[in-house]
Assembly symmetry: C2
């Protein structure tokens, strides 16, 4: 059997089942946004790694190396944000073709370093190999207090489902980069493509949610709202109802998705690479969350609720008919 038959998540599950976690300091192994290790009484170590691969995750015709470096670090910082953690250190493993210009590599590092500095993260190591295709594999180490950490499990029936920011921008930005049809408003085009080429990890929001213990479960949206919601539901043994007309969209997504024969809801549900946070909040904490998030100017939107219907996701318009899903998000293989 070829691996494309069981797919990325099939491989990960297979691996997870065969992993022997006999080490008592492992709080969380494979299966969440980060691994979690008990390093002292009052601190947990977070570890995550993710790769950007030429031809799979990026196309050199669409991005310069500065933004590529930023994104390679951003997708990893987003995993730290999804646990509510504070990123501290990173290691970078680079595969680079020998004919590459030095300035290209300098800008790649400049991109990483800019985002690292903004977030107080330091480069501590790595390696460089000659390679036919470019890859940037980053490991980020972070930390969090034990009482603050948020996992993919823990969502309860009745919890409200929230997302940060707006959804679908990244997927529409990618469509705009790939298509010959161009959005004529340069500012709108830039906003959409920026969301794809240079996403902002929601570290401040993640810390806000974790430090105030607002969330019962959390994940970052990298594969699309539905695909990532499924991880929370599976790990929490729950179902969900999503109110499609409550999903937050940017004006650009609403205005320009028809140009590419797309609609905002599909972009949000299955688009992926938004790197927004998706989290669940108990009813009793709603008022405090909404009040405080306003005070700190965080953009948070309630888009549904957790139901007891294990594994089931129902899409609804507020008070309206159930809707049918088309696609579920990006998968490798």
């Amino acid at each position: 059997m070829q691996i494309k038959k069981i797919g990325e998540f099939g491989l990960i599950n297979r691996l997870q089942q065969r992993t022997n976690l006999s080490d008592p300091s492992i709080v969380q192994g494979i299966g969440d946004d980060c691994a979690v290790i008990n390093i002292s009484k009052d601190r947990l170590l977070l570890a995550t790694c993710d790769v950007l691969l030429e031809g799979v995750h990026f196309n050199l015709r669409h991005t310069d190396s500065y933004h590529l470096g930023k994104k390679a670090l951003a997708v990893n910082l987003s995993d730290i944000a999804a646990m509510g953690g504070v990123p501290r250190f990173y290691l970078s493993s680079l595969g680079l073709p020998p004919h590459l210009r030095l300035s290209w590599v300098d800008n790649l590092y400049k991109g990483m370093k800019t985002l690292a500095k903004e977030n107080g993260v330091s480069l501590i190591g790595g390696n460089i190999s000659s390679s036919r295709i470019i890859f940037i594999d980053i490991t980020v180490l972070g930390e969090i207090k034990p009482r603050e950490i948020v996992y993919r499990y823990g969502a309860c029936t009745g919890d409200a489902i929230f997302v940060t920011g707006t959804l679908g921008d990244s997927a529409l930005g990618l469509a705009a980069l790939r298509s010959r049809k161009k959005i004529k408003d340069p500012l709108a085009l830039r906003r959409l493509t920026k969301k794809h080429l240079s996403p902002s990890p929601r570290l401040r929001e993640g810390r806000f949610i974790a430090a105030n213990r607002f969330a019962t479960a959390m994940i970052d949206i990298s594969d699309g709202l539905i695909a990532d919601l499924r991880h929370i539901l599976k790990n929490s043994c729950q179902g969900a109802e999503i109110w499609v007309d409550a999903i937050p969209f940017s004006p650009e997504v609403i205005r320009y998705s028809p140009l590419y024969r797309m609609n905002p809801a599909d972009l949000a549900l299955a688009g992926g690479e938004d790197y927004e946070l998706l989290f669940t909040v108990p009813r009793k904490k709603l008022n405090q969350l909404l009040h405080l998030s306003k005070e700190f100017s965080f953009s948070l939107t309630m888009i549904g609720k957790i139901t007891g219907e294990r594994g089931k996701i129902r899409l609804r318009k507020t008070g309206g008919e159930p809707l049918r899903m088309q696609k579920e998000g990006f998968r490798h293989f």
Copy 2:
């Protein structure tokens, strides 16, 4: 300018100079076998990452996936050994072509897991991407007590230079795999190719050296004796004298290197991928080291001494003429 002009170490130096290590918990950033982080009063965290890349580090005609998995972890464990540390956890980032057989991937993991289990290391996370070429990028986290750690710096004039095991086997094993001329003794062939395809990280030796505080400086030999010795010399502001006829060779290297028009000394000096430890020992600790290493049956050999001639490596036959070097070891780009 293309990156191949400044090379792997040029790129690393460039990067090291531009890295801003303002975080006080970073004990050692880029520039040693592992990064070292202060996580508590009595423990340092070690972090290292290294990749094996199809067509650069391995050839699928020479290795099966079980041994490839083992080696991918081994080269990282070797970096932990080179600090004297205890490896604890690893993350694996895999790039796999979709048409790959599932059994191939299962065996890759089996190889990693076997070596991991032998050394008490647990898989805690990672990611899998579809990729045209296979890569296995592993990050290992380890730990060590602050008083035990050994860096690349610290070697003093007069210190003895030691290596573990024998040198040159891996490079000759690779030559045997690549050549049409075959060694007829199957046991000898297997011993040599095993050293290349499935090296054993010298974790026990590293711990022995570190726990007894025998070494002033240490590194693992991945790029060849000379290239890796240069790292110790550069970081310690020293020179060295190497006694070529004291270098330890296996019977297989002595017997079969002429078949491939090689000689044992060149294989050891510039061959690379031995994953043995190279370390320096003050004169006053020599007796204790030799006594204890015999008791524990460690194979350690004195091959030279540190001199004050900064940056200079002299090759000598014991009591004989200085020799000239041919090559200095493997470099990317």
